[in-house]
Amino acid sequence: MKYRDSSIVDLLCAEHVLGTLAGAARRRFERLIEQRPDLRRRREEWDLRLNAMAVESVEVVAPPGAWAKVLSRIDGSSSGSNEPGLTQRLSFWRGLTLASWSAAIVMAILLVMPGQAPDAPGYVVMLRDEHQTPIWVIKMAPDAAQLLVNKAGQMDMPAGKRCDLWLQPPGSENPYRLGSLPDQGQMTIAVPENLKAMIPGQFLVSIEDADAPDPRHPDTLIHMQGEWLAPLANRT
């Protein structure tokens, strides 16, 4: 398959969204797309183009019991989410070794930071654990001068440890330390002048000894993925 041929690649992306790319061709394409951000972007473009067809569906009222069933299912899946049990606490540390954390992006700035002034919405990234539980919400003012970090969820940290936040610029192998993440409540982290130009970049979180001086390199690094998002709150 000529993956360098732009038209062929575009068709593969389109047919992947449409669902007509099947079998070995689909598997090959999905392997390839894992390594090719440009293909992911083109696939997303097709996703947007073709799935706009969904808007054209005629409205049909759903059966009256459907909502109750949805509620009962999310109740079952999220019970006790505010009070992490042993499994969740253990899985946090398992998550460290598996490097399985992920970052995701949300926009509900005022919801997660009710005490913050609404006039500096900036950008928001939510860091979640492997159970999709939000742990920190990071908000950055538009001038990139500082980060407002809110502890959003429970996490079982062993005594004598802390989490540090790092920024990895696009295309760089080196993470740059921004500061320590709060155990609870919120914290402001000033973005050094020389790091402002590296934003947007990728956030990384490391585990450090609580009493260690600010490290130049992360000790135990947890890889995160995510992109910055222009906020809705900037709209008038």
């Binding site: 299912r73 999310i74 509900a108 939510m126 809705l232």
Partner: protein, 185 residues
């Protein structure tokens, strides 16, 4: 239905496990999504199951939504469509539905034309409609069947009673033409 911005905010609140937002999201979108699913699976009970699965997934993965890549409804519609198509590919739903002559007729008539009468669309949707309108009937029908029924190349060829190569050509030329048209809008 609520505006795309309202839906995006509701999704963001769902990511933070805001039940009230989730309920409003359901209220605003479930009828449209149910219509989409019903169109694919053509069975109310199965459609209800897909709708429930889809909303549970939306609740669990709301934080993955990125408004730069798609509108909130497009994202939710994509979840529902994928689940509906998975269902008909896994089970016998398609086989039973395709053995029904009414359904075959419905499939044969599948096109975007019935939607052209709808009003109050977003500009991007109007652009899609305009561009779909520039495709040949065969191209439009092939894309629409694949989208709404999840048919493979071979199934499309059988349904449209056309050689496999011809169907692939309809699809591919139609998709490229659609892309060029949307980019020029």
């Amino acid at each position: 239905m609520a505006s795309p911005e309202e839906l995006a905010i509701l999704l963001a609140r769902c990511a933070l496990k805001d039940r009230q937002a989730f309920e409003r999201l359901y209220r605003h979108t479930s009828a449209k999504l149910f219509g989409l699913i019903l169109r694919i699976v053509k069975n109310e009970e199965l459609a209800s199951d897909v709708l429930q699965d889809g909303f549970v997934r939306i609740w669990n993965h709301a934080a993955d939504f990125d408004p730069r890549k798609a509108s909130a409804f497009t994202w939710m519609g994509s979840i529902m469509r994928n689940r509906a198509i998975d269902l008909i590919r896994r089970g016998h739903t398609r086989k039973s539905s395709l053995s029904n002559s009414d359904d075959l007729e419905w499939l044969a008539d599948e096109s975007v034309a019935p939607f052209l009468d709808e009003v109050d669309r977003a500009e991007s949707d109007r652009a899609l409609q305009r561009c779909l309108g520039t495709l040949s009937h065969d191209q439009r029908q092939a894309i629409s069947l694949a989208y709404f029924r999840g048919l493979t190349h071979e199934e499309l060829a059988r349904h449209l009673n056309a050689p496999l190569g011809t169907v692939k050509s309809w699809l591919r030329r139609g998709l490229l033409r659609l892309r060029d048209c949307l980019e020029s809008e």
